[in-house]
Subunit: 94 residues, 2 copies
DNA sequence: TAGATACTTAGATATTTTTCTAAATATTGC
DNA sequence: GCAATATTTAGAAAAATATCTAAGTATCTA
């Protein structure tokens, strides 16, 4: 996991909103864009950042490009966070 | 939890390193600073960001200021992340 | 193949963030 | 109170990021 890329990607509210929209399942770039008051070009930039962080996957379907969440990286990130703060309870993890 | 502030705080590698240093227990600003090749003023800015996100707590002890982690917010953040990606298993979540 | 639709890339500008230097505040010990 | 130490605040410069317009690529339909 490229930690820096992931955190940077998550730092922008628009990108978090994009991820949120994808919770319901895969969507095309256009469908995602409907919810935002931003040009397709800017959206595309955000997609690129999310993709670079490996937070989303893409698949071309005809003239559309379908985006979907990559849950694996979220899990890694959550794990990393759990790791970052000291354990208060009794259980194992250093 | 101020989600935006927390993510923004986590997005900088220096700030993540500061948090990491604090895993071992509270430290003064100066002690933290030893590990970084950066001016005290810049460090202080990073502290302010971390504090604003409520990721660290401070306490003045004489002429020193002691920083410590606020684990609560980390837990909130981890929870939030778990929440952000769709449940794969059968259990409950939305 | 031409025209329409969906999306990305390039390049410019505006905003935000990081960092620095210099100066200010707080506390200690004489 | 004064000098020394620890840290923060203010203000400026440099670097990174978000956004836009215009132009490019890919695919579909006729």
């Amino acid at each position: 996991m490229k930690q820096q890329e992931v955190f940077k990607a998550m730092a922008d509210p628009t990108r978090r909103a994009i991820l949120k929209r994808l919770q319901g399942g895969p969507l095309t770039a256009g469908e995602i864009g409907e919810a935002f008051d931003i040009t397709p070009a800017s959206l595309s930039h955000h997609f690129a950042v999310l993709k670079h962080a490996d937070l989303v996957r893409t698949e071309r379907r005809g003239q559309y490009i379908v985006y979907s969440l990559n849950s694996t990286v979220f899990e890694d990130l959550a794990r990393m966070l759990m790791d970052l703060f000291p354990t208060k309870g009794k259980v194992g993890g250093k």
